[in-house]
């Protein structure tokens, strides 16, 4: 079908995006006179730089500035361009394509470059007026038009496109909320640490970000008031966000309908071999619609690589082939610098170098395998992105660069990171010593003015760290800051290999710096690993939970299995289930229910525990929610026998029955348990109440024990009967049940606020001293009252039966396999 006048072959291109544009440029270079070219463009315009749509939306650029090929280019190369012509059919036998306007053109070679279509989530209301996508210039124009009337835009999708759309709409004067399904933004390109910094930066721009947000429906206006349009977005959790525009930016799908109708081989995209030919050797597919090596592509670099291969093949070079390589991502929002490239997952054969500068919001992570760089994530300072990316692509041996690699290409010597940086960055009014209310400025002034040189000096002059001592580490860092090399502090035991800070330092800094989630903490305190370890994560999760009740959202993945699934794992992988029996009391109905459950679920072992309750052992994980549901029906709730939290309150029968009993020890035990249950503590907490000094409930080896006497209640604490055996110490005498409960709650709250994770009460008491505890819990009534108030407040969020929640479906993924391959699929 050569053109009879000029001998050229006929090339038809369906689509006029960046990839075919690049392919034609390369083709005209390699074979200037090889083809007569005809392009069908569904969009009514020339080829433009789609990557620059975001600056158009934000008003930083005009359309003319992003045009790649102006009308003149098509004329110069003799290209026939049909603008606004959508191709509706390919006739492979006749070798022709036909457009919607009836134009039929023959071809020798055909390029399909139909690109992709934005994914629209089919939630109720997705077809309402005001629901837009973000894909081409028409979408941008629609957004710009709608933005003129102001109001709020909801952008669904916190990936690259969604965030660029959000920034653009904000620049156009709209209020903007970004909804993102995953816990961190751009999770495919960024690790959680960089995702956290990005969220902060986006929020600083006045854009609201809601993560883990699942859109339930888009609510329309009342049809009676005219044609319905977007009025609000409702999330799964019931949150309603009133808005005037919804932009869906959740992803793209290869546009392959035409190719499929033509009978070409399609999968997720139009399948091409590495020479970019489809299952028909005269037809190429190129760009976002093509699937090569089992992958589809959305970033421009691999699409341009494809374009080169197509051009080479058309020019007669059959050797040219396409192989995907590492890609790099940058966000095009003015003022936000982030960059990621390559493969940045951890691995045992991989090492990472992390640089965090909390003051400048900089995070850099290099992932190294052997002697090469394989991945990089950078936030805040990305000037070395291209250099790192080049090292990755070339697999350069970095052995000689390694020491200073993270500082970038221009690094020429520098000082080691300063371990006191976090304390140095605190403002002068930050409270260092919580017990005595001493602020950083007071301590530094005392060190300088009075010439203090040791922590004991500071204690003597300011009282800072003179009570419980948990802020000692911070005071030492202040000494080091003020005195420099002259000061030689006692070594602090770091929490784990991820940090140089000790538990106490971390606890105080969480409060002083207002750190409210784990990624934020790791950034601000310059954690040395990107995501923590099995040692620090459970501790941090507890510290957050204890410090920010009602605000911090528990991170289940940072918990040991028992606390994650609310049962105790056994050596064979089954679980044991222990319901609460308040003060050791039970009833015929409860026992009957337990007996029925044991029969129904064929539970192999039932045992009475040392804490006066019943343990059902050998329950399979999948049965747990059903077992709990049945227990709940009988009024039985979780006994928290697995928790770093309140376990049991053991009692004797007291004066109700016993001839020696002095008070209602059982009743008091029940009241204590009802007051304290559900609370999370640094380590487990066990109580007992005895009705007389004969002490049948063994209260004098518990974390807290109450011994009833004629005149009232003796409160004991800091006993142990495990690895260590230790009798309790007397805390005080209380006159009434109410006072006993109040003092016990204050004691446990102080323990919750001061102890290190996994430190039992007796170890904490030994470390901080009985005097300091007594002073706050017993003697200072204001402090006692404040402690109790904080405890009661945190209980509002803690006293929810975890079994009931899970019996109703919470965390269902924990209790079922992802798939069961033992069950054969139905025959086809």
């Amino acid at each position: 079908m050569h053109n009879e006048q000029n001998g050229k072959r006929k090339l038809v291109v369906i689509g006029n995006g960046m990839a075919p544009g690049r392919a034609l440029e390369r083709l005209f270079e390699a074979s200037p006179d090889g083809y007569d070219v005809t392009i069908f463009n569904a969009e009514p315009r020339v080829n433009y730089d789609r990557i620059m749509l975001s600056p158009i939306l934000s008003g930083e650029k005009k359309f003319e500035e992003i045009v790649i090929h102006g009308d003149g280019w098509y004329v110069d190369h003799g290209v026939t361009l049909y603008k606004g012509h959508k191709v509706t059919a390919i006739d492979r036998a006749a070798k022709t394509v036909t457009s919607e306007h009836g134009e039929t053109v023959g071809y020798d070679k055909l390029i399909i470059a139909t690109g992709s279509v934005p994914i629209v989530i089919p939630v109720p209301g997705h077809k309402l007026a005001g629901v837009l996508t973000y894909r081409d210039l028409d979408d941008v124009n629609a957004m710009l038009l709608a933005a003129k009337s102001g109001g709020r835009a909801v952008v669904i999708g916190g990936g690259l496109l969604g965030l660029e759309a959000a920034a653009g709409l904000k620049a156009q004067g709209m209020e903007v909320t970004v909804l993102h399904l995953m816990p961190t933004l751009m999770e495919r390109q960024l690790d959680p640490a960089a995702g956290y910094l990005l969220k902060c930066a986006v929020e600083t721009r006045g854009i609201d970000v809601i993560t883990k947000a699942n859109t339930h429906e888009i609510v329309g206006s009342d049809p009676a008031a005219g044609p319905p349009r977007v009025k609000a977005v409702r999330l799964d959790d019931g949150t309603i966000i009133p808005c005037d525009m919804v932009v869906m930016a959740v992803g793209i799908r290869p546009n392959m309908a035409l190719a499929k109708e033509a009978g070409l081989n399609v999968n997720r995209g139009i399948v091409v071999a590495d020479d970019m030919r489809t299952s028909d050797p005269d037809i190429f597919a190129l760009g976002e619609c093509a699937e090569a090596s089992g992958q589809v592509f959305g970033l421009v670099a691999p699409l341009y690589d494809m374009a080169n291969v197509v051009a080479q093949q058309l020019a007669g070079n059959s050797e040219a082939t396409f192989h995907p390589t590492a890609t790099a991502t940058k966000l095009k929002v003015t003022g936000i610098n982030l960059f990621s490239a390559g493969d940045f997952a951890d691995g045992p054969d991989r090492e990472e170098i992390v640089l965090r500068d909390a003051a400048r919001n900089v995070y850099k992570r290099l992932v190294i395998k052997g002697n090469t760089l394989v991945g990089v994530v950078m936030y805040g300072e990305t000037s070395d992105g291209a250099w790192f990316f080049d090292l990755i692509k070339r697999a350069t041996d970095i052995t000689d660069l390694r020491e200073t690699l993270i500082f970038g290409q221009d690094y020429a010597g520098g000082s080691p990171l300063d371990p006191t940086a976090a304390v140095a960055a605190l403002p002068d009014d930050a409270e260092i010593c919580g017990c005595n209310g001493i602020r950083k400025g007071q301590i530094v002034k005392a060190i300088v003015d009075k010439g203090l040189t040791s922590i004991d000096d500071v204690r003597a002059h300011t009282k800072a760290s003179a009570s419980c001592g948990t802020c000692s580490g911070l005071v030492e860092q202040l000494l080091q800051l003020a005195l420099g090399e002259a000061y030689n502090p006692a070594a602090v035991q770091p929490m784990c290999g991820c940090t140089d800070l000790g538990h106490d330092d971390v606890r105080r800094l969480i409060v002083a710096k207002g750190l409210k989630n784990i990624p934020e903490l790791m950034q601000q305190l310059e954690w040395k690993s990107s995501g923590g370890c099995a040692k620090c994560r459970p501790a941090l999760n507890y510290y957050m939970l204890a410090t920010w009740p009602g605000e911090y959202e528990d991170d289940g993945q940072s918990r040991f299995i028992n606390e994650r699934v609310h049962a105790n794992i056994q050596k064979d992988g089954t679980f044991s289930v222990v319901p609460r029996m308040w003060g050791g009391m039970t009833s015929a109905a409860e026992l009957r229910a337990i007996a029925d459950i044991v029969d129904k679920f064929k539970i192999p072992t039932v045992k009475v525990t040392g804490g006066q309750r019943i343990d059902m052992l050998g329950v399979s994980k999948e049965d747990l929610p059903a077992v709990w549901s049945d227990l709940n029906k009988a009024g039985l709730v979780s006994g928290a026998a697995y928790a770093k939290g309140l376990r049991t309150v053991k009692t004797c029968v007291g004066k109700e029955w016993c001839r020696f009993g002095t008070q209602d020890s059982t009743g008091l035990g029940v009241k204590l348990e009802k007051f304290l249950w559900g609370s999370w503590t640094p380590a487990k907490v066990k109580l007992a109440v005895s009705g007389c000094p004969r002490n049948c409930s063994e209260a004098t080896c518990k974390d807290v024990g109450v011994i009833c006497v004629d005149s009232g209640y003796e409160i004991h604490y800091a006993g142990a009967a495990g690895l260590d055996i230790k009798g309790t110490e007397v805390l005080c005498h209380a006159a009434s049940e109410d006072e006993t409960i109040e003092i016990t709650a204050a004691l446990i709250q102080l323990y919750r606020e001061q102890a290190r994770y996994l430190e039992r009460i007796y170890k904490w008491a030994k470390r901080v001293g009985a005097d300091s505890i007594k002073a706050q819990v017993v003697d200072d009534l204001d402090k006692r009252k404040a402690l109790v108030e904080r405890f009661v407040y945190s209980q509002k969020f803690a006293q929810i039966d975890p079994w009931a929640e899970r019996a109703q479906g919470k965390d269902a993924h924990e209790f079922s396999p992802i798939r069961d391959l033992r069950i054969p699929e139905a025959a086809e």
Binding site: P183, E187, R188, D191, P192, R268, G294, Q295, V296, F344, A345, D346, G347, P348, D349, R350, S529, S530, G531, G532, C533, A534, R537, P538, G556, Q557, S558, R559, F560, I561, N562, V565, I569, K571, D572, G573, H813, P817, I818, R819, D820, L821, R822, P824, E825
Partner: protein
Amino acid sequence: MTMMEKNWIEIGTLDDIPRQGARVLKTRLGCVAVFRTADDEVFALDDKCPHKGGPLSQGIVHGMSVTCPLHNWVISLETGSAAGADSGQVRTHRVRVEQRRIYIDASALHTSEVM
């Protein structure tokens, strides 16, 4: 199809597994633990610690390792070998993720679907 060819079976999507978490895949030859790291990498290992058979799927996932819930052995998700002073090896399975869908190489699992 010869025995040597890989037999990829789809077992679910990335979103079925919590980040830094795991799910169990049941097979005729026992359970396989399918892990998802913080960086969305997916690994599959026999759900049996080389120490005393603890269910690795129930452990805490950190970096590219999991800590066994029974006695805190740390097992590499990539190689299946125990870290530090402990020595032992658990079998790993090939997995791949495409468009957030997870596929496992079932040629070693001997399920009904292999036939």
